[in-house]
Subunit: 386 residues, 2 copies
Amino acid sequence: MQKAIYLDNSTITKPSDKAVAQMLPYLSERWGNPVAPHRMGQELYGAIEESYKRIYGLIGAKEQDDFIFTSSGPEAVNHVISSTYFDITNSTGKNHFVTAAIEEAPPLMALGKLERQGCVAKYIQCAKSGVISAQEVADAISPRTALVTLSWANGLTGTINPVNEISDLCKERGIRLHLDATHVLGKLFFDWDDVGAEMITFDGSHLHAPKGTGGVFVKDGHKLSPFIVGGSDQAGRRAGALNVPGLVALGVAALETLDSRDLLCTEVARLRNKLEEGIVDRIPDAQPLFVQRERLPHVTVMAFPGVANEALLFHLNRKGVYASIGGGNTQQIGLVLSGMGIAENLAQSAISFSLSRETQEEEIERAIDIIAETAAKLRHLSQKLV
Amino acid sequence: MQKAIYLDNSTITKPSDKAVAQMLPYLSERWGNPVAPHRMGQELYGAIEESYKRIYGLIGAKEQDDFIFTSSGPEAVNHVISSTYFDITNSTGKNHFVTAAIEEAPPLMALGKLERQGCVAKYIQCAKSGVISAQEVADAISPRTALVTLSWANGLTGTINPVNEISDLCKERGIRLHLDATHVLGKLFFDWDDVGAEMITFDGSHLHAPKGTGGVFVKDGHKLSPFIVGGSDQAGRRAGALNVPGLVALGVAALETLDSRDLLCTEVARLRNKLEEGIVDRIPDAQPLFVQRERLPHVTVMAFPGVANEALLFHLNRKGVYASIGGGNTQQIGLVLSGMGIAENLAQSAISFSLSRETQEEEIERAIDIIAETAAKLRHLSQKLV
């Protein structure tokens, strides 16, 4: 059997060999706890500092900005939302939280938790554009809004929210903005200073770092009290022995993520386009969505009218093409697309393919053949059945 | 310079070589997300199931009991306390929480957070015995008590709380009991069924597993809603891609922890006693504390009257003997001992030494020499200065 073709990088990415290699000494030899006041703790300071620097580079953070290493993106999102409740709602009474109805599960469920505490959550319905406009945010917020929390981009659809305008609006109204940047790091060129947003979170396992890594950036001058309390680890920002091997690996992955950004925006985008065109050539009514919009360079969501996406995904998986229809930490793609105003027959037949810097041209060529054949066969079958 | 002598195993332990070796394939090759519906996810099921079994073995948990893998012991403690508030306080109005004044920082700070939400926390003052009696718990609880949260044993002093009696009491009164078992796993023989307690947590980095590992056991029939919400990972118990490499390493560490329990209770206890006797032989007024009580086999806390423990710790560290006076996730040892009714001159001169299955007789012999010489020199110096 031929090697599988992994086009599911918005679910998880392969850890970089270099990141794994560089974390190993911190698992086997330099295993001390950095809070210990002896050499086993102190010998880690250099690696920790270097890793923080590399991670700060991801978004152009400045020394005076703050960073909290977490065990995942979802932990980071929970941290921002829960601590905003403790820091802002409890002291000001502002108990209104804004997000999008098509958001991923962590913000939706974290806000659900706050609703049971008497908070009010506003879920912005998405216009047909697939994104949330600043005007829609303006309509949703109120003087009681404590936080606007949004994904910068959607990893399934590739659509990108207009975060600069949203950030300008939130700043003007004095409302904290949190962006989940998981799917844009290493894919878009930006500097935090231009974007705005007081809090930025991400998941390391989407940047070729190992599982168990993620973080929250906090803009200088803003407060984010700890979510996991109880100790002086990370200077009191998060209790639990700092996962130094994970931090070191995340630092290496951050460097490589920046280094490969050009590649993602040119070569990987070309392969993504080749995939779309190759499939449309073979199945003329297959339809890549959101192609007229600004979107992530490595993601495409394609509809195959007349084919149920679950069946297509199942058969593709069996043939060694790995893709996604959501679920896991994200919503089902059908719900997301319907929420974006996409017609049902497209939404329920859509599959998301996400490439990475490791995707090869030969893989895309094979994928086109397999996807086109499988979709054609399934459509033929469903026409017979109906 | 000679190899350092690591007697700080209650702060963190060396990851087992075997645990690290067995996690590696899950960092480099089998790196999928178990929620993905294709082979990259499915190929992990066997390892996940086997690891859970091994971890269940740690405390004799049954298949119908529940386990949540967390990123650390402190996260697990925060999970129990925060979710008890959501699950019990919010639905019953029971807003009273009980712990000990000498507890570690995570429960103390997590209860502090709840106090700011209108809950009432009761901090039991410790009797001179160094432990919390069932009678003291009985005096502290009320019909409004939602949770009693205690460490099973103290990693600095080695003292062990009478958890069976406390558990019987809590069961009789219908109050949830949480025990932090971090310092007793692999050190005491017990079965969860005999102990009682609905929730048991621990930190993997104290069991020779790597950092970034820990967990919560939940007794069959009891509810613990998620702390990090947002996704189907771990069947909805904790959002964020399951850290499979960490879980696999924790499983190996769990096996080894059980296998070395005999060694800990005999050979390591003998070395601990040898350390105490060797030091007392050389410094007659040095005093190991709590020797008349049941205590952990691998821990001793020794007072060196006339010597400031900070100074002693500093000089021991320089000479390559690593020990602890608390801090980090634990309280300062002086506070803990004073809280236990130990006289000030002993409390402020006390140092905690914690051994592991890797501690060698030769190391203990060298440690005795270094500790005795250093303490004698410091005492001489302080007598001159005063």
